[in-house]
Every structure is written in structure tokens, then in C-alpha cells.
Symmetry: D3
Subunit: 124 residues, 6 copies
Amino acid sequence: MDRYKQGFEKLSEIDGDAGHKVIAALQDVCPDLAKYVIEFPFGDIYSRPGLDLRSREIATVAALCAMGNAIPQLKVHIHGALNVGVTETEVKEVIMQMAVYAGFPAALNGMMAAKEVFLERSKK
Amino acid sequence: MDRYKQGFEKLSEIDGDAGHKVIAALQDVCPDLAKYVIEFPFGDIYSRPGLDLRSREIATVAALCAMGNAIPQLKVHIHGALNVGVTETEVKEVIMQMAVYAGFPAALNGMMAAKEVFLERSKK
Amino acid sequence: MDRYKQGFEKLSEIDGDAGHKVIAALQDVCPDLAKYVIEFPFGDIYSRPGLDLRSREIATVAALCAMGNAIPQLKVHIHGALNVGVTETEVKEVIMQMAVYAGFPAALNGMMAAKEVFLERSKK
Amino acid sequence: MDRYKQGFEKLSEIDGDAGHKVIAALQDVCPDLAKYVIEFPFGDIYSRPGLDLRSREIATVAALCAMGNAIPQLKVHIHGALNVGVTETEVKEVIMQMAVYAGFPAALNGMMAAKEVFLERSKK
Amino acid sequence: MDRYKQGFEKLSEIDGDAGHKVIAALQDVCPDLAKYVIEFPFGDIYSRPGLDLRSREIATVAALCAMGNAIPQLKVHIHGALNVGVTETEVKEVIMQMAVYAGFPAALNGMMAAKEVFLERSKK
Amino acid sequence: MDRYKQGFEKLSEIDGDAGHKVIAALQDVCPDLAKYVIEFPFGDIYSRPGLDLRSREIATVAALCAMGNAIPQLKVHIHGALNVGVTETEVKEVIMQMAVYAGFPAALNGMMAAKEVFLERSKK
């Protein structure tokens, strides 16, 4: 299967609607970046064996929360984590743990992002 | 059990010798910081139920690799991850995935840190 | 006095209403993180002798401004600095100085945050 | 020519209205920071020979996109880049390239900033 | 031409020996990351039309200097910039300009990296 | 008094030998950056009234420790803080406090830098 097709399926499996919206927002300004988002992160990396999707999403939520300058992407991947079987409790534990490594502001801003995602999903 | 005692046991379980060396290096310059390292991250956070230690170490390796300015701590937690059952392959997958979120330099520097840790452990 | 009680008093003394709002916003999503915010930063760190509160708030405003990804927390601690006796002029000097260490964008965004806090306080 | 005068002319040449708005927003809260913005970045640095303005703006767009915590300044300098002859295609290439060095979230957030700037300019 | 082959040629053209050493250092620990470094940054991004190589290297030197946590990669790309026609003076101008956006420490550490690269090349 | 002369005196007063070494290391590769280091940070900012030097150095140590990618500059300013009357205990309190805002790795790496500076000074 080619990288684009495999990537699009993986993106849909993990991030669902939240992922499709990111791709749509890029289409008019830079469709090639949309293509790369699908091909490299999802077609190459998330499609690899060697680490289960649940662990991959835990790693991504941790990293984006710690970096602190990627709140929109953190929200997409909190959706992603929940979509592949991470529980809300586990998401909160990962974010709380980031207080240790990236400081309390990173954890607080990450928790507020999680709160929004949980609320959004509870409405559906 | 008090936070310090519980924290010290958790630190020993996870980080082993690499963790003890961090504590020892702090003792002469600032023993209170050593105490806090044991009490808050290990006594409070890593001792919580709600997320297994394996997932906690995956989260920490991801965050420290993505942040890119904490190589000594990344090495300690690559040891920690391996100590609690994460495989070398899984550590490499987590680090490789950080190329997506924090860029290739973060992944490359993280992989070089992993290479050193793997080599050190293979000598024992 | 226990860490929680001491921390809550310190939080109230320093950050006042702005601090209470942070705690309230966490209560429904993750009350344990609210507890840790009170216990470690305020119960352990800000309660230590060895550095006066005025200097502690100068350090925090400097750090949050330099990090650049924690604007909500920067605003809380500009309130905090003013509450413990740092003057508006001194807050502005700290933020301006961050242009040297973290670049002009960090200083500009920090100054806009200060402008909002000053305005909010002048209305009361 | 003195640094302030030379800096103001350079700021006007590069950033135009977007630059003047930054200066205006600082005037009531901290006019000295406005003065330094004009004198050091524009009076000293951008006025130097040795690197053409086009290359300087490419460097600035790259850096601000990679840092990820300076979106307002990134927008000002996307205007700046376009004002000194960088094309929209080139701006997009620089931002896309940042996916390699600072990760996809930095590139995505940078591209959304570029989209807003392009739209704003197309309306005039 | 396939992505790997095109990427390897581009890597060789831009980074030369310094790039080959990075690939070699990855081969025993994680050859797949070496493959991705060749395919995505060099096969996809640097091979794109729309921005000349000289501008691409100026953007990369700026970003890596501003990020401040990727000194080994900064050195590789100072070599790269010089290899594709950026002058030593221009490299220094880009780095000096980063004092404005990322602060003086980033510019100072970047300049020390440049000093080492210039010295190394002058010996050959 | 002109900015350069005033800056050099301020640099000498605050950072002493450690500051002079920074300037010397820049002279052969980029004397203009050395000039700017003296003129803007020291001639303009540290020479301002409105905040005492002790508070300025507390702010700088906090920021550089929190940023985590400027260890050489952190060491220079730990010297600077001690030179203008901040005590070793106060330096340690500032660094320990950064665990709250930038995470434990930043505080640990900052404390190791302080340990080296204290040792170096105790030998004289």
C-alpha cells in the first residue's frame, strides 16, 4: 500500500474528525504540507510495528503538553489517544506528570486543553 | 507510608543506579532539592495508580526527547524505561516519533543518548 | 502546619483572586493537580525562608516571560508580584530585560500581558 | 544618521503598518521598549550591510516559526518578508521546511498564520 | 528518481562529509531513522523547487540557532550553508540577527559554533 | 557617557572576569556582536534606573535556568549575581523555584551549573 493511502487510513483511525479538519484547513493554503502530514507522520511513523498505537498516543500527548506551544495539536492528539483506547484518567495522568518535566504551567495549560476535549466529546 | 520513603523506593525501582547518582550529586550543593526530587516526582506522581509505570516512562522519554534541553535526564529515564519493561525497540520508536513533533534534531540527539545508554548496559 | 494548609495561605497571600480562579478551574477536571499546585509550589517552595517573596515573584515573572508559552500563568504572577510589593515600574523593567535573554518577541508579548493586568487592576 | 531615525525608517520599509501598530501598542505601557525595538533590531541589525533584506526576512520567518511561541511577531514578519520581495510561495517553503527542524506542529501553526496574512493582504 | 536516491544526492550536495557522518552514526542504532533523514528532509523538502538552496540554508541556520538546543545540527548546516554559496559574513549576520528574536545567549552560542566550523574548514 | 563605555563598565561591575572572557572569545570571529553585547544589554538595560542590580541578576538567573539551553550564560550570571550581593543561598532558592515553572530537569541542570561556579569561586 502506498504511503499516502496508508497514512490517510491511519490518520482517520487515530485522529478521526479532528485530523480531517487539520488537513482541510491546509488544502487551500498549502496542499503539499497536508500531503506530508499524511505521508510522513501517519504513513511512515504511526504505521510502523514495534510500538502499539496506545503507547504512541501517550508519547505524543506527553511531548505536545511538555513543549507547551502546540495546543491545537495537543487537542487533536487527546482525541487521538481517547480514540485508540487511552482512558480519560490516563490522559490526565500523563498531563499531570508533565508538571515534573516541563513545569506546572505546561501541565495546567495541558489540563485545560483536556477539559475542553472531554467536554466536547461528552456533548456528542 | 510517607512521601519520602515511598518516593525513594519508587526512584530505586525505576531509575536504579542512575537515579541514585542524581541524588548523590545534589547532596552537597542542595540537599533540599534532592528531597523534593524524591518526594514530588517519585513519592507523589510515579506512585499514583491510574497509569502503569511502563506508560509513565514512555511519556517521560517522549517529553524529555522533545524538549531537547535535558539530555542527562533523558538518559536516566531511558534506563528507567528499560528497567520497567519497555524494550530497546520501543524506546527507539518513541524517540523516532519525536521527529514528527519536535523535529529531526531532537530525534537525532535523543537517539544518540539512547545509543550511549544501550552500550553502557550491554557492557554490564 | 501541613503543606496543603500552608500552601493555600501562601497562594492566597501572593496570587489572591487570580490564584483562586486557577484552582477552581482545575477542580472539576483534575482536583489532584489543584492539590499539587497548592502543596508543592506554594506549600513547599514559596514557604521556604532564604529568599524574600518579592525576589521570588521577580524570578517567576522573569522565567514565565522568557519561556513565552505560559501567558496565563505570567498574568497570574504579575498580579502576584504587584501583591507582594513589586512596583509596576519594576515589573516592566524585568519584562524589558527579557529582550536580552529570550528575544524581543518574548518581551513584547510579556509587556502586552502586563498592560492587560495593569488595566484590570486600575478598574478596581 | 542616528540609530532611532535609521531604525524607524527601516521598520517602516520592512514591516510597514504592521510594525507601526506594534510600536503604537507599546507607547502607553512602556515607550522605552518601543524605542529599543526601533534602535536595536532595526537601527543596528537590519541596517547592517553584509546580508540583503530578503535573506534577513527569510531568516526571521524561519526562526519565529521554529520557536513557535511568537505568532504575533511571525505575522508581522510574514508581512515584512512579502514587503521586501519574498514571494508567497517562498514564505510557504520556509514554513514547510520548519517541519524538519521544529516539528509539524510548528509548521502547521506557522502556515495558519501565513494563511491569515495572505488573506488580509488580498482584501486590500 | 526515488525519494531515497534523490535525498542522498541532496544531502551529499548540501552537507557533504558532515551529513554523511550523521547518517553513519545512526546506522548501528537505528537505520530507519537514517533512512527517514534522507527521505523526508532531503528527498522531499530540500528537493522542492520554489526556494533556492541558499535561502533554504539561511532559514535552517536561523532556526537552529534560535532554537538553541541543536548545536550539532547547527554546525552541520553552517557547513551546508557555506557549501551552497552562503558566505562566512552572511552566516555571521544571520546568527547575530538571532539575538533579536531568541536572545543574546542563542546568538553567542551560535557564533561559537560558527567559529569552530570556520576554523575546521580553514585547516583543510 | 556613551553606551559602549557605560556598558563596558556595567559588564565589568556585574560579570567581572567571566564577562570579559565572553567578549574576548567573540573578538576574532565577530567583534560587532561583542560590541552589541556591551551596548544593548549592559549599556542600555542594566544601566537603567527602576530596578536594582540585585533584582536584575535574580531575574536573569531565573530566566536562563528556566530556558535551559544557555548553560554558559547561566554560569556567567551566577557569578554576576554573587558579585552584586545575591547570596549563594538565594541563588539556590531561585534555581530550586524553577522546578515549579520549567520542570525538575531545568532546576537540576541549573543547580549543577551553580555547583561548578561555587566551587570555582571557593578555590580563589
